[in-house]
Symmetry: C2
Subunit: 258 residues, 2 copies
Amino acid sequence: MNVLLVYAHPEPRSLNGSLRDFSINRLEEAGHVVQVSDLYTMNWKAVLDANDSTVHEAGARFDPAADSKHAFEHGLQSADIEREQDKLRWADTVILQFPLWWFSMPAILKGWVERVYAYGFGYGVGEHSDVRWGDRYGEGTLAGKRAMLVVTAGGWESHYGPRGINGPIDDLLFPIHHGVLYYPGFDVLPPFVLYRTGRMDSERFARTCAELGKRLDDLGKTQPIAFRPQNAGAYEIPALTLRPDVATDQVGFAVHVA
Amino acid sequence: MNVLLVYAHPEPRSLNGSLRDFSINRLEEAGHVVQVSDLYTMNWKAVLDANDSTVHEAGARFDPAADSKHAFEHGLQSADIEREQDKLRWADTVILQFPLWWFSMPAILKGWVERVYAYGFGYGVGEHSDVRWGDRYGEGTLAGKRAMLVVTAGGWESHYGPRGINGPIDDLLFPIHHGVLYYPGFDVLPPFVLYRTGRMDSERFARTCAELGKRLDDLGKTQPIAFRPQNAGAYEIPALTLRPDVATDQVGFAVHVA
């Protein structure tokens, strides 16, 4: 299959760089075709602004959503945005690999999401009415594709456990899993998370590669996280709250997983 | 008091721009001194990289933490980073104002956090031992100061409610409140969140300003979110999990609030 690896680390001679190279080799050896968006090497423009359209009039009021819609519909998007959208259309599976910085993705990757997920591509897709609230959360442009995060963290696994001080890793990643990946339609696989990256030696690196390799081998058959589709009956529309008979009396991120 | 407003929206003639101007006026009329870091207008460099130190050797391996530590300790930080750190030292209260993009802060603001929160300033502060795990989560460089988010969202309030499809707003903001603000020492005030920004008229804008104005008037006396300090006994060290007798059997972000 076609795999897009979106990679966000500033130093190729890093643990992240080594894991990226390992992943590319493993995937290619398995017969997959791999494209890499190495955001730092590409000098990716992280900041969404009026220049993301090729025809923005100097001095005109900039509306992030309306201008994105106009540019997307009229073929006026900046070329770097179009290239990334084409890669996403081409991919069967997308991997986002990044170090966890301040409990989220690095700014350069956040800016990739903001700019590439244009209105009409990443959001603002489909009918908005009394019975549907757009093609999102399980439907959308990227439906049928799979996505997985590969994340490194300096802290210990216990710090990210159910009662760990940083918050549970599944909750920290929920805005990305559910809000960035499931939203435009991806089936989201459980993440590969590596902790305590300051303590790495060759033995642990080999073990890590074995574990990551297994996940890469299983990309096509791993069960996705069972997020609930928005328009299939579990949610009231337009309030978009879970119906009272679904996960009754429960609250929080976890209720959105069946 | 001294108030730093860090503002991240690309268009001054926007709802966010109007709320920013309102806030500055309201604070100044109350006798406060206000500085604004208008990240788009400043053309803030969003991407953390080797150029954040003034002496990075071409071709040398870049280590984000080690290089940040070295630059911070030896006065070799990029001037834009130093200026923002000085503003943070100067401020009694810091307000971060931004539109919620993909369930988090815009990339330009994320990059402000990543670059300004240097090793030795935002993290890597204080003793790491068997009884203390650094000055963080309630202690640190910015202890004694207050912080508050002002956030706009296109979605409805119900979409961000306890059972709303986007996830509860308090949980979405937890990585910022707890992980970005409480971590280096801030007392974190409850956020001001404005929903359904596409439906704004002059009457609703006046009501919004009245509500925001009240929050600004009360900056000095609003009760902060009762996050638990890391080194005061609630957590096991070094596992950094809540002690079994604290919030017994509970899990998730909410256990970190007393």
